[in-house]
Amino acid sequence: MNVAIVKYNAGNIYSVVNAIKRLGITPILTDSADELQNADKVIFPGQGNALEAMTYLKAHGLDKVIKNLRQPVLGICVGQQLLCRHSEEGGVDCIGIFDVDVKRFQPIQHEDKVPAMGWEEIYMSDEKDDAANVLLKDLGKHPYVYFVHSYYVPVCENTLATADYILPYSACMHKGNFYTCQFHPEKSGDVGEQILKNFLNM
């Protein structure tokens, strides 16, 4: 299988490379439109600032390449956020697969620390069984996964699973060939490994 990881100015992309290697597949890390379009699976990772990331992606024409991909695509963390319409981080227009805007967490009480960093349970939504079964199968009922983020995607029609920190928000999303995780499956232990396997098996 040919797995491509989008190469751009995001941090810690090698964690995703390592995670895919642990599953026995050596992915290619590339910013070439051809290589991305011809891959069986594309992973769009992300860590860092949404404005800086979008500025880079637009300058290299990658925003349009990603938007037009037809094979299964997995957006991770800022990768999920960049697939939305707009981000409050830097007030930037994003790729726009999901018709929803990314917001910054607003702490309500002292315990609400931002960035939200650590393990949270996720809750699969019942109505979206089919897509949830593909990405989130064999995980147990409320698995814990590892998050690091200051911004979140509100619950919307594309929400596949939610997490609840300060308020319920989108932990996983799905629309067509696009799947996303706000958390880091590459750092989420055996649960994360299963999610990556599920994606690669699509």
Binding site: G11, N12, Y14, S15, N18, A19, K21, R22, Q47, G48, N49, P107, H110, E111, K113, P115, A116, M117, G118, W119, E120, E121, Y144, Y146, V148, D164, Y165, H184, E186, K187, S188, G189, D190, G192, E193
Partner: protein, 253 residues
């Protein structure tokens, strides 16, 4: 349960590629290969790992980049690396090798703007500020050089400053409690949690499962770190997490 789980973090002190743990920072005993040990902890349910190059902070040696690369390749939970990080290029080297976070200690006290630099370049989530402090007759004071040299900074004012400068977490080790297995410094921990708005990791003093519970309930810590009780099998991480779960604490099991 809603919200962030309380984290259990084994700390692996590394010297010449081997894991060691001191009692009150001296009398080192060997406890195995850091990568293998880290993997075993991950399987047992550790939420995060910390690898500290303990010799680096006073010998000026660089941390074990090769070991970091191996850990990143083989382990699927987040990990922090510390020891001997003096400037931004040390941070870059360790993050490029695959570390998720870096922990700075003496160098932050020497050069507080390092915290600002790390958080503005890589995000605050990357920057763990470790504070070694001791309750002396005149209050809690920060120490450097592996606990051998007292500074003129107080624990609480320094903690507030590191949070304001953009640190993502505080790793607070009580030198009074470290190595003696009588519980964490819960009073100071609770005060820290009240005074700063970033997560606090409790370190120093773990001896029993109850000590971890108390660090979370009385000490209001977001995470608890320990070394020897895990290394020498006195507490099994899986047992510990089931115990904490039964005590009503939000843990990942």
């Amino acid at each position: 349960m809603k919200g962030l789980a309380k984290r259990i973090i084994p700390c692996l002190d590394v010297k010449n590629g081997e894991t060691v743990k001191g009692t009150n920072f001296i009398n080192l005993r060997s406890a195995g290969d850091p990568v293998e040990l880290g993997k075993a902890y991950s399987k047992a349910g550790a939420d995060e790992l910390v690898f500290l190059d303990i010799t680096a902070s006073y010998e000026g040696r660089k941390t074990f980049t090769d070991m970091v690369t191996r850990v990143a390749a083989e382990i699927n939970i987040p990990f922090t690396v510390g020891g001997g990080i003096n400037e931004l290029k040390d941070v870059a080297r360790l993050l490029n090798a695959g570390a998720d976070k870096v922990s700075i200690n003496s160098s932050a006290l020497r050069n507080p703007t390092l915290i600002n630099e790390i958080s503005s370049h890589y995000g605050s989530q990357v920057c763990v500020c470790a504070i070694d402090a001791r309750l002396d007759e005149d209050g809690w004071h920060c120490y450097v050089k592996g606990g051998r040299e007292r500074t003129d900074r107080g624990l609480f004012e320094w903690a507030k400053e590191v949070a304001d400068r953009g640190a993502g977490e505080i790793l607070f080790t009580s030198m009074n409690h470290d190595g003696v297995k009588q519980g964490f410094a819960n009073e100071a921990l609770a005060k820290l949690s009240e005074e700063v708005s970033i997560p606090v990791i409790a370190s120093g003093g773990a001896g029993t499962k109850e000590h971890f519970r108390d660090a979370f309930t009385l000490g209001k810590a977001d995470a608890a770190l320990a070394a020897s009780v895990f290394h020498f099998g006195e507490i099994n991480i899986s047992d510990l997490k089931h115990y904490l779960y039964n005590e009503g604490i939000n843990v990942r099991i």
